[in-house]
Point group: none
Chain length 501, copies 2
């Protein structure tokens, strides 16, 4: 049995379980705790340290996810040989989440294909959570319980609209977390938000149709709409949401089939819509009979003391909103499970589109996710996620505030996974991007997010803290600072020289 002293500091902002996991991790690395040794039972250690059990559980989870220890069922946690540490199967693409694949292509184009993402890259471009925080143990138990319970039926064809008990759990989930009341009949399970958008496109769009999106917006949605032969019209977004005046003009002008919006922690701008703006949006949709597609993937990631703005769907009295929810950011991207809330009159069309797209989403994962909700894991997990993200958010915020002296500007999103930074006069986003790439730091220049007519914007970048740890954030922000200084000086010297040209 291990016998070493551990110091925890309740006053600093680092969550206790992170302090605990890192000190145990150091003891293992330093050899003070040897391979094959058993760690103290959760209750005992919690008791000795005067922390609660969840803290120790989370610390052990973290250590296991990082390959320092291993749980042996019914026995406890044991230290591993660090040589056994799992090699990270993550490929360059694995670190790039949905927004970024297409962007990554563009980025490569912009950088003439020079960049390759390596394990040393500090990736402020990816909004994919670090796999070490995924609730693998809990989910693994759910998977095994499903296989023991349902046997072969877990691998039969699943109903195309989704596993009924999961749809029921989602109804309560929506009630509790999003204040949306919906019947399970109108929930359509999909293999992630991207498929949700694809299926909506198949249901509503024909060549020549118009689609209105926020500008800037999610390029994964734009590419789906274009693949249906639709024309995209971008409408500017401001602090309180999409510009309703411009929107109405464009609706009248183009008579669009649908309007695609991200109302909470919009990507890339991080804006959350004001209630007034949401209601204005619903009015326009009713007045002109156009569907609203609400992509709500980041809702739920608002940090404490911040009252999350309502979802469009929760205010939708006329049943004009098609709501898409992904679990990629809140739970695990690899689940490939999300859902659509369909307006009553579209549900059978959406079901047909889903069916001809891939028949059904994985029944096994749907059944395991259902158990995961039923066992109440969600609540613990989402709080755990928020603790981790909040810490990283605050770290990046601190560095960004320091950069204000160079003239950068941003609004605090108070949640989600991104910052949207307006650069100082004379610093172009694409140039800054290329400077950072040289130092193996990846950021996303705004160009990528703009729909056609706004392509010339080049003064904003999106930074995400999702995929990086505190050390990487520190190092990456230094690189960002130096690159900004470098470009500022260049632009100054250009300014001075210009009279001579």
């Amino acid at each position: 049995m291990v016998n070493v002293s551990i110091q925890l500091n309740k006053d600093i902002t680092t969550p206790m379980y992170l302090q605990l996991s890192s000190s145990i991790g150091n003891l293992i690395k330093s050899g003070k705790i040897k391979p094959k040794e058993k760690l103290p039972p959760i209750r005992k250690l919690a008791n000795d340290l005067g922390v609660n059990n969840v803290t120790v559980v989370n610390a052990y989870k973290q250590l296991e996810a990082n390959g320092y220890i291993k749980a042996i069922k019914g026995s406890g946690y044991y230290v591993l040989n660090l040589e056994d540490k799992p090699t990270e199967k993550a490929s360059s693409m694995t670190n790039l989440e949905e927004d970024e694949f297409l962007e990554h292509e563009d980025i490569k184009l912009m950088s003439n294909g020079q960049i390759e993402i390596s394990s040393n890259t500090i990736n402020f471009a990816s909004t994919t959570p670090d796999p070490s925080i995924f609730p693998i143990e809990a989910f693994k138990n759910c998977l095994n319980e499903v296989l023991d319970r349902d046997k072969g039926y877990a691998f039969g064809y699943q109903e195309s609209n989704g596993f009924e008990p999961l749809r029921e759990s989602l109804c309560s989930f929506l009630e509790v977390y999003t204040n949306i009341t919906v019947k399970k009949e109108y929930i359509q399970i999909v293999s992630g938000a991207q498929q949700g958008i694809d299926i909506i496109g198949k249901t509503l769009l024909n060549p020549g149709d118009y689609v209105i999106t926020e500008n800037p917006t999610y390029t994964g949605a734009v590419s789906v709409f274009k693949s249906r032969g639709a024309q995209i019209v971008g409408v500017p977004i401001n602090e309180s949401g999409i510009d309703l005046k411009v929107l109405e003009r464009q609706i009248i002008r183009y008579n669009p089939k649908l309007i695609y919006v991200m109302t909470r922690f919009q990507s890339p701008t991080t804006i959350s819509y004001s209630k007034e703006n949401l209601q204005g949006l619903l009015k326009l949709s009713e007045k002109y009979g156009v569907y609203l597609v609400e992509d709500d993937s980041l809702a739920g990631l608002s940090f404490e003391n911040f009252d999350e703005s309502p979802s469009l769907k929760s205010l939708d009295t006329k049943d004009k909103v098609i709501y898409i929810k992904s679990f990629s950011k809140l739970l695990m991207p690899g689940l490939r499970i999300g859902f659509i809330i369909s307006p009553e009159n579209l549900s059978s069309e959406l079901l047909k589109a889903k069916h001809s797209t891939d028949i059904s989403s994985s029944g096994l994962i749907q059944r395991a996710l259902h158990l995961y909700f039923e066992k109440g894991h969600w609540e613990d997990h989402i709080n755990y996620m928020k603790d981790i993200y909040k810490e990283k958010y605050e770290a990046m915020l601190k560095y960004l505030n320091e950069l204000k002296k160079y003239g950068i500007n941003f609004t605090e999103p108070k949640g989600g996974l991104n910052f949207w930074i307006t650069l100082p006069q004379g610093v172009e986003a694409t140039k800054l991007y290329l400077e950072c790439v040289k130092e193996d730091v990846l950021i996303v220049p705004c160009k990528i997010f703009y729909v056609n007519n706004y392509r010339n914007n080049d003064n904003t970048i999106r930074l995400s803290y999702a995929a990086t740890n505190l050390e990487e954030i520190k190092a990456g922000m230094k690189v960002l600072e130096y690159s900004i200084i470098k470009l500022l000086n260049k632009s100054k010297s250009r300014t001075y020289m210009s009279p001579m040209i």
Copy 2:
């Protein structure tokens, strides 16, 4: 023996077999050829007319499909009483065609939701293997091994083209079982064959394009092509595969973007292509620069002592074949994993289409499937599956041979999961379907599988033994027999009464 003169014109665009069938049809209607008379043997007529045998075969088939003549096995083709000619009125099902492509749900739709598939239903419609034969334990071990090895990375984003080690295993799998040599770069993992078709549609089809399919064919493919705005042209399929003469004519007329075929145990006809036909198909694809899509989901399920015909892809020297393989029938449908072999020049387009469809297929399942192959489970499993299916196949075959006395007709598929049964004169497939449904037995009437211009076919059914056990096969075939007798008597009484009407 008939002795009349027939004029055929080789210069006009109407296919010879259609000219022939219509002139014989007119001779029958005009009474120049009398009921019960025997038509000339295929070779003789072909010889007399200076056309080749296939033309006559197709003409006779056409006449039979339209209820003018009837084949009696080992004897020849006989003229029927036109009073027995099946009415060609559209059945209540026709408007449902697009929904009818898969398993239980579709059968429910087919019956306008009248049927509930209960545990008592004997389901000859479903080609889904019985979940009791799925290799759950072995796969569960693979899942757990992956989770212990890869931790959170098993739930990170997977590369959009698929988990590399799995793509490597698939290369060897193809080498061993399908005699196809391919580089892993050209393998694209998809969430089942249906998604494979969807992605190919997105990559190649635009509104107004033409697609050629076998007729009858898989309606799941048809609905994808239609959702891309494509026009479908059906080409008849005979004992050795698609009718190459008609195919070439249609290629010239419609200049299609792709030709979709199932070369082994084609569904619904159960035909496996002859090598000559495959080579003819490849020649046409090369000559006219059109892609061939080979959907090969049932290959591997050939029963011993039957030498499985080669796949089109294995003969594809010009890289014109897009190959789709599903594991739904051979392993477990709920895996939702299959793959595409892409021609070199299409792979990046297919990758983009996959990405904008759902980013990636489940990394967890891909990793577990990789282990499943690596551990050599596949070999054991597929032999086990074949033993089980062969037993059911032979049971159904025995009962079907007994039903021949009522005038049913079929070719032995020697593998796959289906029989394709031509019904006795006077027994309509849709009526038979409804009779069987009353007794809680599900069969699939042929209408569902026919592309537009052949919609009036109603004399064939597809029976599958995949989802039923030996007892159910016995009981279900009894129901089928009674229903056939019932309809035969009805049709006789109609014939007797007809003169009085």
